[in-house]
């Protein structure tokens, strides 16, 4: 199976933007080295875990892969035209002033040329996707404000999949939810992965959730990939102290 994503020697520097004055005067030393020589690859249809705490650079990595972070050294090859992303905060991931039906039809509405769909085709696809993510079609009339955190994440996942993507980045999709809801969303992601064969880069700080979701896992700290490998291998004999600390924190004996 060939790779869907290859990242090779990726380095990203952040300059304190400020205004033009700030850019000119900021010497090389001022620049923050956010990602240091990150290299890894992902097979098609794989779920790869990325574990790291806030400020470790995982969001920058996601942005680079999605093409939202233009300046970087190194090479990123992604075999997917329209990668999608699901975010952590269910309250910010849906447009508060639009109905769920409108939000879900938007990715279909912007399709050009051959893929253009009629109104009925669009609404049929939306209903079908809603069923797939376990939501009742009636929810289309509601606004995001009226939904629970779990329902919102399901809508966000549905919106991402409606773009017919094969590559999804899930950035801490369950950490903002109650424990009982988390398990449901994880099961949903696994089911969708099995049915639609999409590859998922699963970002989380919780090793237990990563264990349930992923085949392989990468540990990242301060922009450096400390370890990567099969989940059981890494959990059984961690190579670095930081991984051991993470394991202890998640009280995995």
């Amino acid at each position: 199976m060939e790779n869907i994503l290859e990242v090779d020697g990726l380095n990203v520097y952040y300059t304190n933007k400020g205004n033009i004055l700030g850019k000119i005067t900021s010497r090389r030393a001022d620049r923050q080295h956010v990602l240091k020589d990150v290299s890894f690859s992902m097979k098609k249809g794989e779920i790869l875990g990325l574990v790291g705490e806030s400020g470790c650079g995982k969001t920058t990595l996601a942005k680079a892969i999605l093409g939202m972070q233009k300046q970087f050294d190194g090479r990123i090859r992604l075999r997917c035209r329209n990668p999608q992303m699901v975010f952590q905060d269910p309250y910010a991931s849906l447009n508060p002033s639009k109905r769920i039906g409108w939000i879900l039809e938007e990715p279909l509405r912007v399709k050009k040329g051959s893929e253009r769909l009629s109104r009925e085709a669009r609404s049929r696809r939306v209903d079908e996707m809603l069923a797939r993510v376990g939501l009742d079609a009636k929810i289309k009339e509601h606004y995001p404000g009226e939904l629970s955190g779990g329902q919102r994440q399901r809508v966000a996942i549905a919106a991402a999949l409606l773009c017919d993507t094969e590559f999804l980045i899930a950035d801490e999709p369950v950490s903002a939810l109650d424990v009982t809801i988390q398990a449901q969303i994880i099961r949903l992601l696994l089911k969708l992965h099995a049915q639609m064969g999409i590859s998922i880069l699963f970002i989380s700080h919780d090793l237990r959730v990563v264990y349930q979701m992923c085949d392989r896992v990468m540990i990242m700290k301060d922009g450096v990939l400390l370890e990567q490998g099969e989940v059981d291998g890494v959990y059984r004999n961690p190579q670095t102290d930081y991984t051991r600390l993470l394991l202890e924190a998640a009280n995995i004996e």
Binding site: N16, G18, N19, L21, G22
Partner: protein
């Protein structure tokens, strides 16, 4: 400190661009400056001679830099109408307008601070609602109409001051100040209403924040929490408002000068506009803009002291 330097640079750039814009605006005026000075019946030769003498035929940039150099040295050129240096016309008048703006500003600070805090402390009670109603009305009154009302009530009816009895500060400083009281009240009242409303809202908003709950959890009483925690944070948006109102007060005093017929900078500005006496108009406008920008600069510095979160990045 780096923050102050950066702000200073942007301030100078803005000042320079304003002087350029104003000079440029007055240079492309449809009317010909020489014509305005000599009137329509003068002969073309004399017009050309005047243009030559005033150097109007030289390239624009050269004239601008020369004008700017003179301006900085305090020589604002010669008035078309009165043929006397603009500097002399303005030098005695500008202090009057600036003084009026400063007194009004002081009134605003002295009155709105305690009143804003008082209404925040009693928010919801009847006294608070009453003050808020008065506030709402005060904000809707144009300051020149306020001036007219004050003139009528305190001048004509109660005769506390004689309308039009302005005394220049050269002759009698204290009567000069006492005459300015009512005009300054007229300028300040709408601004007082605005800052009371903002301070009250800001105090109530800050009082709902987490760090106030922490303050109470340490055993502070309501008064202690207000003065030691809430007020310091609530003042930050108010300082920004005050910075902006200073500029409005300057312009406000120009209008109020007509109501209380005070011979300040406003009077000259208006007459020179109607006579199209451009050197005077240019000088007055650039001066006022300069005063406004310098005050904005000071507000930015005070703002940075009040809110330590403002780093070099600026707002």
């Amino acid at each position: 400190m780096k923050y102050a330097a950066k702000k200073l640079v942007t301030m100078l750039i803005t000042l320079l661009s304003i002087s350029f814009l104003v000079y440029f605006a007055f240079d492309i005026i449809p009317g010909d400056a020489a014509l305005a000075a000599l009137g329509t019946d003068s002969t073309p030769e004399r017009l050309e001679a005047l243009r030559e003498q005033l150097g109007l035929n030289r390239p624009f940039l050269e004239r601008y830099f020369e004008w700017l150099a003179n301006f900085v040295r305090g020589d604002f050129g010669v008035s078309y109408k009165y043929k006397m240096p603009v500097a002399d016309m303005i030098s005695s008048k500008l202090p009057i307008t600036v003084m009026m703006a400063l007194i009004s500003f002081a009134m605003m600070v002295v009155v709105s601070l305690p009143l804003g805090v008082y209404t925040a402390m009693n928010s919801g009670r009847r006294i608070d609602r009453l003050i808020m109603v008065v506030n709402q009305i005060m904000m809707s009154v144009p300051h020149f109409f306020m001036g007219i009302v004050l003139t009528y009530i305190f001048g004509l009816v109660l005769k506390l001051f004689t309308p039009g009895g302005f005394v220049s500060y050269e002759t009698d400083f204290w009567r000069f100040i006492s005459y300015l009281i009512f005009p300054c009240i007229a300028i300040a009242l709408p601004k007082i209403a605005m800052s009371v409303k903002l301070l009250r809202g800001s105090c109530i908003e800050e009082a709902a924040k987490d760090y106030v709950r922490t303050a109470y959890s340490k055993g502070n009483d309501t008064r202690g929490v207000l003065y030691k925690h809430v007020l310091r944070n609530a003042m930050i948006p108010v300082i920004t408002l005050w910075g902006m109102t200073l500029a409005d007060m300057l312009v406000g005093s120009i209008v109020i000068e007509q109501v209380f017929n005070i011979p300040g900078i406003g009077r000259i500005l208006l007459t020179s506009i109607s006579y199209r006496d451009y050197p005077v108009v240019e000088a007055v406008i650039v001066l006022i803009a300069a005063v406004v920008i310098v005050t904005n600069f000071c507000v930015d510095i005070i703002y940075q002291i009040a809110d330590p979160r403002i780093s070099v990045g600026g707002r």
